[in-house]
Symmetry: D2
Subunit: 136 residues, 4 copies
């Protein structure tokens, strides 16, 4: 089931063109990912600064359909697909409160062993989270 994250566009998100700076849209998507993990009781401090494993992003893409301005209220719908034992992707839809699509994005994540820098199976808490937020 998709997870929905509410966000207000901040002055810092914008650039001199008066709208959200393109790369910040991906950062806003990542916030939705963090909040989704948090709601699933995953400790973010340990998750993102672990000595054993890491789940870096290996690919990201984003389409921009409408500009976002400071003060705008937006929703991010996040849903996941587990691709194999070590890999998953997240799909994001950014919407206005009236449900018009502003932007779409995808991030792909691979679990690695930080000592050997080789692929490693996703930890069980992530498998659990992937089931909860599955796009199916």
């Amino acid at each position: 089931m998709p997870f929905t994250y509410n966000r207000t566009i901040r002055f810092q998100d914008t650039d001199a063109a008066g709208v959200v700076y393109f790369a910040n849209v991906l950062a806003i998507c990542h916030e939705a990912y963090e909040e989704s993990l948090n709601v699933s009781n995953i400790n973010l401090q340990l998750f993102f600064r672990n000595n054993d494993f890491a789940i870096p992003i290996v690919h990201a893409s984003v389409d921009f359909l409408r500009p976002m301005f400071c003060g705008d209220r937006i929703l991010i719908n996040l849903s996941t697909n587990q691709l194999n034992l070590q890999k998953f992707e997240i799909n994001y839809q950014i919407l206005t409160p009236e449900k018009e699509i502003i932007s779409k994005a995808i991030t792909k994540h691979i679990c690695i062993d930080l000592n050997t820098r080789t692929r490693k199976e996703l930890p069980s808490e992530i498998i659990h989270w992937l089931h909860k937020t599955d796009s199916l």
Copy 2:
């Protein structure tokens, strides 16, 4: 009366030392300022991208008492002092949910005419907001 803003520390706020990057603490304070204006029905898009006047920050200072980590829940208490007809300051206290002080900051703001680049009286909606959030 002080305004309180709730915030979660995001991965993007942190740096390779594992804690919030120092300058981002001021950005988090600015978010509290924006939300406080928003609650006072000030249109942020018009406010920050006006053709007539601007209210730039002319001074900022911040003290760091404790580190903040990804996922931490924090509160920001914001209160204001009008210094004269063209100038005000904002005081910020960043607190843990248990009310321990993490950081303190101040920003000073001056209203200017964008055409002449000279000082100008603060607009009435800002005077109204300053009364609401006055530290006294």
Copy 3:
């Protein structure tokens, strides 16, 4: 001919995982784009804050092959393709000083009329820049 931009990874680029935050890689690519425009004598202040036209990014994608750490020296090779009269794409390769590929990215840009919000032909100075940095 591709344009090459030299960059050092800064502390602010990193996150609590100790490496460059994923979305900041696209921001670093955008810096290369800005410097390439600047070398082509395009005034960046006017270019990015024009009242007549804008050339927003409509798509971005990025692949991450190796992590980047604070202090790392990198090169960004930028080359362009004009897609039609209103649209172009930029390809970026991020390399170590030893020419190992760290990351690859693409951004797509469309010229719009800011008054009508419809597509518009690219300005001649951009056509000139596209010829200079063409990937062919």
Copy 4:
């Protein structure tokens, strides 16, 4: 002797008001600090992500005299004062190429033992760097 760092204002540094976002001025000062350490042969990756000690910023202040726009070339003059065995401050002057002052900032840094979270003497490589960049 002061250290001078050259920087171009990037689109990402700006906000919807069309000028550099206030907190980013401190980030630009920190870049000058990093480059100054780097020139003094201090390994930034080890320095900022050490297991034994850290030198966090405990105070920062900044005054804004003139706005900065995308594409502007600036200079940052950095000089240091060692305050005691565990503490130093850095003074920054941001200047136009014509040597007009745009902004002034100060950061204060304390060395701590990461295991005990108590103050610790500054490492010798930092003492060496402080002598080189001393404001006297």
